[in-house]
């Protein structure tokens, strides 16, 4: 039997760290850190956030880098796509537009000037253009596809594709630069959406907060009103309001229309949260301390309901963007020359066959924006309450 050091005795009492016993097997951290951690765990949320940042930078900082203005029209350069084919005519590069006009282009893709038409033979379907210095170029549009011919009536076939250097994303049907219009359009769409969301936020929180907190008959009445208002698809109302205010008021009318009608969702959410929160201990405590209704609402209840509120707002924004685009599409949107993404889509419909990029670009912008907000909103919802996982 080893009688030596106590240390080696297997029957020596086990020294237990008291903390070990009560050990909680995970690290605790602040609520915000928890939320951020859960948010970043989802790849779609990060993607959405990244996209959002890129889009905001695009439309806020972008215009400073683009030399064109969104409203200046250049009727010489109508419907030019971002990349196009140019014919090599004796060292000069000529672009044949979908409207059967000729534009001279520099080697790097910069648009130079249109070629003047000398005459047009409707019978033989040939147009003669002035190349300058007495030279002429003939366009034969009887052939399908139309072709350029040199002085011996041979088709010019030397072609290459160039990027449009003057207008990187092309021009629209009035010769306006697509890139800058895209940026400005995005600005408008985002602005409208943000303002609408803000208005909905304020109205919704106040309405839902008061209704939920005061409760009783007031609550029932207020909620009945909400029920009646929401029986109708809000889009119908937006349309009616737009018609009422007349299209010329542009942004203001859309914002008012969106603001008067979308708060119902937020009001319901806030009311629901308040209802469950107001029975909790800290509210009773605050009331015993003598805090007034307003104070309790603003300092206690609403901050605690922030989670669902934030999620709802994040989902309001893409909704608002969608509604705005939708309205522009039916013709009730922002007035020219201002462009929102929706009006750009609408304008592009008529030239869809020949210039599809005019639709795709703003459509892509809308999609990316909505995807970004939706992903971020989804991520926030999961992060703020893991029990609500999809």
């Amino acid at each position: 039997m080893p009688e030596d050091l106590h240390v080696n005795d297997p029957w020596a009492p086990l020294e237990i760290d008291k903390d070990d016993r009560e050990k909680i097997w995970s690290q605790s951290s602040s609520f915000a850190k928890d939320v951020w951690y859960r948010f970043t765990r989802k790849p779609t949320s990060l993607l959405g956030l990244f996209l959002l940042v890129v889009l905001v930078l695009f439309c806020v900082l972008g215009p400073s880098f683009v030399p064109h203005s969104y409203e200046v029209q250049n009727l010489n350069f109508v419907n030019i796509p971002p990349t196009f084919n140019v014919y090599n005519v004796e060292g000069r590069y000529i672009y044949l537009t979908p409207n059967l006009k000729l534009i001279e282009v520099a080697e790097d893709g910069t648009l130079l000037a249109p070629l003047a038409r000398i005459n047009d033979d409707g019978m033989k379907k040939r147009t003669t253009f002035d190349m300058g210095g007495g030279a002429e170029l003939v366009l034969n549009y009887k052939a399908k596809p139309p072709q350029l011919e040199d002085s011996e009536r041979n088709a010019i076939t030397d072609m290459r594709q160039v990027r449009n250097k003057t207008y990187p994303l092309g021009t629209d049907n009035l010769g306006r630069d697509m890139l800058i219009r895209l940026m400005m359009g995005m600005r408008i769409s985002l602005l409208i959406a943000l303002i609408a969301a803000a208005v909905n936020l304020v109205i919704g929180i106040l309405y839902g907060g008061v209704s939920g907190y005061i409760g009783g008959t007031l609550d029932t009445v207020m909620m009945r009103v909400v029920d009646i208002v929401s029986t109708i698809p809000l889009t119908l109302y937006v349309i009616l309001i737009q018609v009422l205010m007349g299209g010329s008021s542009g942004i203001l009318s859309i914002v008012i229309a969106l603001g008067t009608v979308y708060w119902v969702n937020m009001a319901r959410v806030v009311r629901g949260e308040i209802l469950s929160l107001k029975e909790q201990e800290f509210v009773h405590a605050a009331r015993t301390l003598g805090s007034g209704t307003w104070r309790i609402l603003t300092t206690h209840l609403i901050p605690n309901a922030m989670g669902p509120i934030i999620v709802t707002v994040t989902m309001l924004i893409p909704n608002a963007i969608f509604i705005e685009a939708f309205m522009s599409f039916i013709g009730l949107g922002v007035m020219p020359p201002m462009a929102s993404l929706g009006t750009m889509c609408n304008d592009a419909l008529s030239t869809l066959r020949s210039s599809p990029y005019q639709l795709f670009l703003p459509a892509l912008a809308i999609c990316l924006t909505m995807i970004a907000f939706n992903f971020v909103g989804d991520g926030l919802r999961d992060a703020l309450d893991p029990k609500l996982r999809k």
Binding site: P10, P13, I16
Partner: protein, 340 residues
């Protein structure tokens, strides 16, 4: 008495995002025909998982990794899925803890119990099934069975719902019924009723029952034999009398001390066992109870103790029972029953 179920060295683990959780780590026991065996333990002790392992109700990420469970000649851990489906409900059935959430809210209760019969008794007609269900309802003392056959779960009180669950479990005259904390979600008075019902049924029908609970008092009333589980292992196994009067494990001792007794003096405090259950992701080396044990020694943290057989029916897993264990501060060798 004939053994109807023999569980040998059962190990069950779950795959989670954080790692593998070893919920059951070497559980062995036998269940005799007609016997009511109790399994006692805290949350996280592995008692429920043990019973779920027998019926393979572990979910997609749980698996029996070792050991076997012999039901007659069949090894439950090795049967095919089809055979297992026949056994579930037909030969071995379960009663779950929360009867409200355990019954399908949109199907009438009669149909839910009848389903058990229609599934396992091929060829039985709907009318025959229904009349059998009504018999069962009468057996479990549900008043007005005819009227209540078509009712939905939310139209019953908690106690009544549990009676429905019991009826469901008994429908096909199973050999074994596993009751997983059947009264925990009920009021104490209802609890008493259900327990009495269970005891009566068990005596009448001769079904073997595994009764899982965290409440020692319930076990004392109902069971003839008990398993005490902690940290995924069986700490002590004994007849009821042996467990209460010849306790041979510090954990059981702790449990007994923490239960209020009628003859307690007014100033006497309840002694909870300090600490919380172990994290089964990183199970402690050695005896799982050692971090919370008032008598623990160095050896307890280093090696899992072997079982000491104290009688034909009584065994316990504790170093302090070993012949080489010192007498000092050893509750089982007459020295210092109060420990530190």
């Amino acid at each position: 008495m004939e053994t109807i179920l023999q569980v040998e060295n059962l190990h069950t683990s779950f795959r989670t995002r954080a790692g593998t959780v070893n919920a059951v780590r070497g559980v062995s026991f036998a269940l005799a025909k007609g016997e009511m065996l109790g399994i006692v333990g805290e949350s996280g002790s592995g008692k429920s998982v043990t019973s779920m392992s027998l019926l393979r109700l572990l979910g997609s990420n749980g698996k029996v990794t070792q050991g076997r469970a012999l039901f007659g000649d069949t090894d439950l851990t090795a049967v095919s899925a089809k055979e297992m489906r026949g056994i579930r409900g037909g030969k071995i059935s379960m009663i779950f803890q929360d009867p409200m959430s355990s019954l399908n809210p949109v199907i009438p209760v009669g149909a839910q119990v009848a389903e058990m019969l229609l599934e396992h008794r091929r060829g039985i007609s709907k009318e025959a099934a229904k009349s059998r269900v009504l018999e069962l309802f009468a057996l479990v003392r549900i008043p007005e069975p005819e009227n209540r056959y078509g009712n939905y779960p939310h139209q019953f009180s908690g106690g009544m719902r549990q009676r429905v669950m019991i009826a469901m479990a008994l429908a096909c005259n199973p050999d074994i019924v596993i009751a997983d904390e059947p009264t925990t979600a009920l009021d104490v008075t209802i609890q008493d009723q259900i327990l009495k019902l269970l005891r009566r049924l068990q005596q009448e029908l001769g079904t073997s029952v595994i009764f899982i609970t965290h409440d020692l008092g319930v076990v004392a009333e109902l069971c003839s034999r008990v398993l005490v589980m902690y940290g995924g292992m069986v700490m002590e196994e004994a007849q009821i009398d042996e467990l209460f009067y010849s306790t041979a494990h510090p954990y059981t001792l702790g449990l007994l001390k923490s239960v209020p007794r009628l003859n307690q003096s007014k100033g006497e405090r309840l002694l909870p066992i300090p600490g919380s259950p172990p994290d089964m992701l990183r199970p402690p080396k050695g005896c799982p109870f050692s971090p919370r044990c008032t008598y623990s020694r160095r050896i307890c943290a280093e090696r899992t103790p072997p079982y000491t057989q104290l009688s034909g029916t009584h065994r316990s897993m504790c170093h302090l029972l070993l012949p080489e264990a010192p007498q000092q501060d050893n509750p089982f060798k007459g020295g210092g029953a109060n420990g530190r």
